[in-house]
Every structure is written in structure tokens, then in C-alpha cells.
């Protein structure tokens, strides 16, 4: 079983390749990357399928290290099948899923369930992130060693940050025993209170209780300090404020083992999107001010930010079709990830190679997985991208079970045309 992808522009930041080349795949692995591989000669003599990628980008399958698949427990929002299907449609072949399922992923049983279901029925590789604390209660450490053995790639109490400093210290130390990162939703909940959007003039005008930027900055600072003190490894999720970008930047210059990610919504939208009490613009961290957006863009440009991740957070229509203050936090993101990231290139924030790197090899390194490259010998997870493809972002056409997106009706440019998982096509866009 051999597949040949011909005439595409290969972008493989891990190997610093950006050229029109052909890729030959055998039994799900890349066996050759070269110019003008002819079907009838050499290795390619028994090719079963040839894909013409003329005019397309051929990149490693995208890697999204921050998603919520809601499986087990909240399958009415999303499940592993629909979530990975949405991922494939977005060009994503590997994703990490957060442990705030029901029950939470603090046990080998849940980890095995996720991995097995994804392998058997999914359209993308799923790498579970397990809880820092048992039951995500912030009291006792989860069994990190065994969870790692089971296939988890990091630990996070995403959404319910560990407030106890001592526990967090021990989490860094213990996780590092197994060479694993602590992944934080850094937020001081006492400063968040009942806030439901970014604190600032828009919140004041709308009469909505604000979440101040210091809630994120103070917690990010503490988490960085603890990582620095323990020499543990920290990955900060969804940085959204100028302060937290600055804190990560400074920590990196001090040699702290810290990485961070930014979401497309935090670098695309400001809190102005909340006007009209749009519950699809409600998320945590909240959409911030233009100054914060500019800081996140600067962080992407100068390398402070290591990865673009979606924080794909599906919620049912009924959970969003309520008063703003009681609406659930979060939006879906897998299917808007690519066009919104390509916009960064169009706007001159970063170049195309850098953008692909932020979506492939860099996030892979954060969670220590061998994906995100097109190296010979690598598993053939590949995205074929048309960067010029124009389409309207219509919720009804999305593959995710939930449709909670603030980008409904947006004119998008760029999309995955075909997605291959271990050499097998798992998504093909009907044009």
C-alpha cells in the first residue's frame, strides 16, 4: 500500500524544508521526500494511489494541544468520534484532550477508554492530558506515573486551577520525576469572582461583571515562579493578556522551562465581540482589549508563544442560548483554526513557515510526541492545504456536534482540502 503525493509545496519546519517536492508513503509512514518521484520507477513502482497536490501546501498534520472532547460524560456536546472528525476537517491529525470530562481523567481506566475509542473510531490521534489532582479537586496528586504509562502526555486541572501553592509545587516536582509537563490554566479564581467578561470599558457599559487581567497575570507569575523554583516544566495555556505574555518572555530569558500557547480567538477578537450579549464570545480567559491582542500577536512574532491551540470547547445550543452571565464558557475552534492562523500570515504577523511550525512541530514538542514533521520514517499524518480557498464559515456545515462559534458568517480564506492520518485519507473537502 503506497501513496504518492505529487507537486505540492512541502512545508516541514522541523526539517527546514519549503519546496515543491513529492512525498512517498508506505504502510502509513513517510519513506521518501524528493523532487519528481515518478510512479513507475524505483520505490514508487507499486504506488496504489497518487494525489495531485499542485497548488496546495503539503504540511505535517496539524497538532492541537488544547481541546475538550467531552467524552466520557458529555457526549451531547461532543464525543471522540465527532471531535476527531471536526479535527480532520480542520487539518488537525493530533490533538490533546483536557481531563475535565465526567468522570474526570485522573485514572488509567479513563485514559485507556479515550485512547482505545480514538484508535478504533476516531479520525485523529488523541493524546490525553490527565488531571494534576485526583478528582480535579486540588487536594491530592493524581497517579502521574501510571497515567504516563497509560499514554497521557501532560497534567492539567484546566478550568479549575490549583489554588494551593504547596500542591502546585509538589505537582511540578512529581511530574518532572516522570519528565512530564504541568499544563496550567493560570487564573486566580478569587480575582475572577463572578466575572463573566474582560474587565474594562465594554464590561462597564454592558453592566457585566469583569474579570481583570491581573487574575491571569498573578496566577501566571506564581506558576512561573514555582516552575523556576522546582526546575519543573510548565506549559501555560491560552495566554490572553499583555502581562502574561511578558511574564513568559522574561521567564524564558531566565532559562525557566516554560512554554505557552495562544488561541485563535484571543489573537483575532477583542472584548468588543461581546456587545449584544453574544454568549458565543464568552470564554475563559475572556476576550481582552486590543492592547492585549497586540501583545499576543507580538508574542507570536518573537517566539515567546510556542504554539497555537484552539481550546476547542463545545457546548450545546441550550447552554449558550441563555442570559450572558449564566452561559457556559468556551467556543469550538478546530474548524476555524487554520484560516484564522493563515490570517496571521496574510496580515504579516508571522511568515508561513513559522505559522506551520506553531501548528505542528512546536506543539508536538510541548507535549513530547513524535508528530508534526514530514521526516522520512515519520508517521504519515499530513494536511493538504489550499491557502487561497475562500469559504463562508457556516455553523450548520461544521462537523463538530456543537456550533458555539463567534465566527459564524465570517468569510474565511484557507482550508484543509485533504487530511491523511497515517497515510489514510480521513477527510476530503467537497469543493
Amino acid at each position: 500500500m503506497k501513496v504518492l503525493i505529487k507537486n505540492g509545496r512541502i512545508i516541514d519546519p522541523a526539517n527546514k524544508i519549503d519546496a515543491v517536492l513529492d512525498i512517498l508513503i508506505e504502510d502509513g509512514k513517510i519513506i521518501k521526500v524528493a523532487a519528481a518521484i515518478t510512479v513507475d520507477s524505483g520505490d514508487a513502482v507499486d504506488v496504489t494511489e497518487t494525489i495531485d497536490a499542485s497548488g496546495l501546501l503539503v504540511t505535517p498534520g496539524l497538532v492541537d494541544i488544547h481541546t475538550h472532547l467531552r467524552d466520557p460524560g458529555q457526549e451531547y456536546k461532543e464525543d471522540i468520534i465527532s471531535g476527531t472528525h471536526a479535527a480532520a476537517a480542520g487539518g488537525v491529525t493530533s490533538l490533546a484532550c483536557m481531563p475535565n470530562t465526567n468522570p474526570v481523567n485522573d485514572s488509567l481506566a479513563i485514559t485507556k477508554y479515550i485512547i482505545t475509542k480514538a484508535k478504533e473510531q476516531g479520525s485523529a490521534n488523541v493524546f490525553p492530558i490527565a488531571c494534576i489532582s485526583k478528582g480535579m479537586k486540588g487536594e491530592i496528586l493524581a497517579e502521574m506515573g501510571e497515567l504516563k504509562e497509560g499514554g497521557c502526555v501532560g497534567f492539567s486541572d484546566d478550568g479549575v486551577p490549583v489554588s494551593n501553592g504547596e500542591l502546585m509545587r509538589r505537582a511540578f516536582e512529581y511530574a518532572d520525576t516522570f519528565a512530564m509537563p504541568i499544563i496550567t490554566h493560570s487564573e486566580d479564581l478569587s480575582l475572577v469572582g463572578t466575572g463573566c467578561m474582560n474587565e474594562g470599558p465594554v464590561a462597564t457599559e454592558l453592566g457585566l461583571k469583569g474579570i481583570p487581567w491581573v487574575a491571569e497575570d498573578a496566577a501566571t507569575a506564581r506558576d512561573i515562579m514555582l516552575a523556576e523554583f522546582t526546575n519543573g516544566r510548565l506549559h501555560v495555556c491560552h495566554v490572553s493578556t499583555k502581562g502574561s505574555v511578558d511574564l513568559v518572555r522574561q521567564a524564558k530569558t531566565r532559562g525557566v522551562r516554560v512554554s505557552c500557547e495562544a488561541t485563535p480567538h484571543h489573537f483575532t477578537l477583542t472584548d468588543e465581540a461581546v456587545r449584544g450579549y453574544n454568549t458565543n464570545a464568552k470564554m475563559n480567559p475572556p476576550l481582552r482589549s486590543q492592547e492585549d491582542v497586540d501583545a499576543v500577536l507580538a508574542g507570536l512574532a518573537d517566539g515567546t508563544i510556542d504554539a497555537i491551540a484552539t481550546d476547542h470547547a463545545p457546548h450545546h445550543y441550550d447552554e449558550k442560548n441563555v442570559e450572558f452571565a449564566i452561559a457556559m464558557n468556551g467556543i469550538i475552534g478546530l474548524e476555524s483554526l487554520l484560516p484564522l492562523s493563515l490570517k496571521l500570515v496574510e496580515d504579516g504577523v508571522i511568515d508561513l513557515n513559522r505559522m506551520i511550525s506553531l501548528l505542528t512541530v512546536q506543539p508536538s514538542r510541548v507535549i513530547g510526541i513524535d508528530r508534526g514533521t514530514l521526516s522520512v520514517g515519520a508517521i504519515a499524518d499530513i494536511a493538504l492545504i489550499d491557502p487561497e480557498f475562500e469559504w463562508e464559515f457556516m455553523p450548520k456545515n461544521l462537523l463538530s456536534k456543537s456550533k458555539n462559534t463567534p465566527f459564524a458568517g465570517w468569510k474565511m480564506r484557507g482550508a484543509a482540502i485533504r487530511t491523511l492520518l497515517a497515510g489514510k485519507t480521513v477527510f476530503e473537502r467537497s469543493l
Binding site: T204, E205, G207, L208, K209, Y277, D318, V322, E323, F324
Partner: protein
């Protein structure tokens, strides 16, 4: 001109002409309230639902009296949080009420934006009787009517507003209303009670009551909501009263003919001293009286004319 809105959701989107028209209409209705038989048949056959998700005696009563004086059938529903406890959504509650064909829903809700939310989903008219800490348009309008009756014209006046702005829906509506009508608005309160970006709504922000009320034509004191305090915003009512309470001595800083207003209910000895609350400059009861007239005007104006179903 004539103003025939489908809903009254806030002051922010009203024009100066529309505000003045509402006030003029209210003046005409005020006369009805002084009659021996305080009833006109204007809204005969109309059903108005007072849908209050939050306890409120005075606003609810004011709307109820307004509707009754216009001969509408008024129904009070205190939904409080009982529907929420039962798991019914706001939309479902509202659709259930709408199925009984009311013409107007007057709504008070603890969530900012709840009235906008409802107006988008219902066919009947919605009047905002206070949503969260967002807007309270009828209060701002009755305040404007009261000021106008005392000062003739609002343009050029200085109005000081003091208190817990963060938790006040009255302030936002009043800032919009007074600004549109040409007054200068000065806000005072401890920094813990002033949300960021307040000045962008169109007001001067002071942390000192005296600075705000000096030479003011009108002083509005906001209620310190005891139930919301005692947490982190102020150390004690005693200290609040000392620095931000209106009393005979600091009232002297305002213009001699300044009027003192309060949306009620007042906390004597906290934001306003008893002597000021009972003093000759206070117009608090006139505000209440004007409230009925303003609400009659709003009920009348949203009722008039044939409107497109999905306007």
C-alpha cells in the same frame, strides 16, 4: 415627530428628540394622576405582564399603577429564581407567558442583557424595568422629568451622582440620558465602587464627594445596597457615610437651589442624612410621582400604531 418604538430597552439608543418626546408625553399623562378619577381608557383591552425575576416593590408598583390608570389589564408575575430552580430557561418562561398573548412584557431581571435577549425572541413589546447592572431606562427618564420640572432646561446643568456605580443600573441610564440632554455629569464614589472606563460613558469621575457636588445643580445619591456590601468594597457603612454620605454641611457646597434626588429606597444615615432626606431641597417623592407618568408614557408609546410583527 412621533416616537413609536417596539421596545424600550435602554437609553443608550434613544435620540434627544425621542427622550424629549417621552418626557412631553409623560407631562400630559401626569395630569391624569391628579384627577379624582384617575383612569383613562387608552389601553383598554391591552394585557401587560409585569415579569419580575428580582424583588422590586417600587418599580413594579409604579408600572402596575401606570398600566391600571391607562385601563390595561396588569398581571404581576414574580418569577424570582423559582423558574431557574425548576430548570426552566428564560426563553421558555417568556414563551409560556407570550402564549397567553400579552401586549407588553415589563421585565426586571438580575442578568444584564436579559431584556435585549427577550426582545430578540418575542413578538410582543418588551420594556426594561432594570436588567442586572446594565440599564434602567424608566428611572433615568423620571429623573430627567423631575430635573426638567425644577430647572426648566437640563442643558447646561451640572448633575452629581454618588454611590455604588458598579452595582447600579440607574447610573448608566442616567449618564446616557443626562448627556444626551446636555447636562454635565460628575460621578463620585470610592474607587472600589467605580468600574474601569466609566468616564467613557460620558462623565467626570471623582473619588471625593465634595469635589463632585461643588456647584452642582442636582445631586443624585445612589442606594448603598446593604445586601451587596460588607464584603470587600467598603469597610463599613459608618465609614462610607462619613466620606460619601450627603449631609447638611456638604450640601452647602452645591448651588443654593440644588435639588437632591434618590432612586430609593433610601438608607437614612448612610448615603443621605435624615435632615437632607427630609429637607426642602429633596425631590425624592416627586421622582416617585413622575415615575408613574413616565411609565404611562412608555406603555402608551410602545402600544401605539400597527407594528410589523418582527420589527
Amino acid at each position: 415627530m412621533f416616537f413609536n418604538p417596539k421596545h424600550i430597552l435602554g437609553i443608550k439608543n434613544l435620540t434627544v428628540e425621542e427622550i424629549n418626546f417621552i418626557l412631553d408625553t409623560a407631562e400630559s399623562f401626569k395630569e391624569v394622576n391628579t384627577r379624582q378619577i384617575k383612569k383613562v381608557p387608552t389601553l383598554r383591552g391591552k394585557t401587560i405582564v409585569n415579569l419580575f425575576f428580582e424583588a422590586s416593590t417600587r418599580t413594579r408598583t409604579s408600572f402596575e399603577i401606570a398600566g391600571k390608570r391607562l385601563s390595561a389589564d396588569m398581571v404581576n408575575i414574580s418569577a424570582s429564581s423559582s423558574s431557574v430552580v425548576k430548570g426552566e430557561t428564560l426563553e421558555d418562561t417568556a414563551h409560556n407567558i407570550e402564549a397567553m398573548h400579552p401586549d407588553i412584557i415589563v421585565m426586571r431581571h438580575s442578568a444584564s442583557g436579559a431584556c435585549d435577549y427577550l426582545a430578540e425572541r418575542l413578538k410582543c413589546s418588551v420594556i426594561n424595568a432594570g436588567d442586572g447592572t446594565h440599564e434602567h431606562p424608566s428611572q433615568a427618564l423620571l429623573d430627567a422629568l423631575t430635573i426638567r420640572q425644577h430647572k426648566g432646561e437640563i442643558k447646561g446643568l451640572t448633575v452629581a451622582i454618588a454611590g455604588d456605580v458598579t452595582h447600579s443600573r440607574v447610573v448608566r441610564s442616567n449618564i446616557y440620558c443626562l448627556n444626551k440632554l446636555g447636562a454635565k455629569v460628575k460621578i463620585a464614589g470610592p474607587r472600589t465602587m467605580l468600574p474601569p472606563g466609566l468616564e467613557k460613558l460620558g462623565c467626570e469621575v471623582h473619588h471625593n464627594l465634595k469635589a463632585a457636588i461643588t456647584d452642582a445643580d442636582c445631586i443624585m445619591m445612589l442606594r448603598i445596597q446593604r445586601e451587596r456590601q460588607g464584603k470587600t468594597l467598603i469597610p463599613s457603612l459608618r465609614e462610607y457615610s462619613r466620606f460619601f454620605g450627603l449631609n447638611d454641611s456638604n450640601l452647602q457646597l452645591a448651588k443654593e437651589d440644588a435639588i437632591v434626588m434618590h432612586p430609593g429606597p433610601i438608607n437614612r444615615g448612610v448615603e443621605i442624612s435624615s435632615s437632607v432626606a427630609d429637607g426642602k431641597q429633596n425631590v425624592i417623592l416627586e421622582q416617585v410621582e413622575n415615575g408613574v407618568a413616565v411609565r404611562m408614557a412608555l406603555l402608551y408609546l410602545v402600544s401605539g400604531g400597527e407594528k410589523l410583527q418582527d420589527n
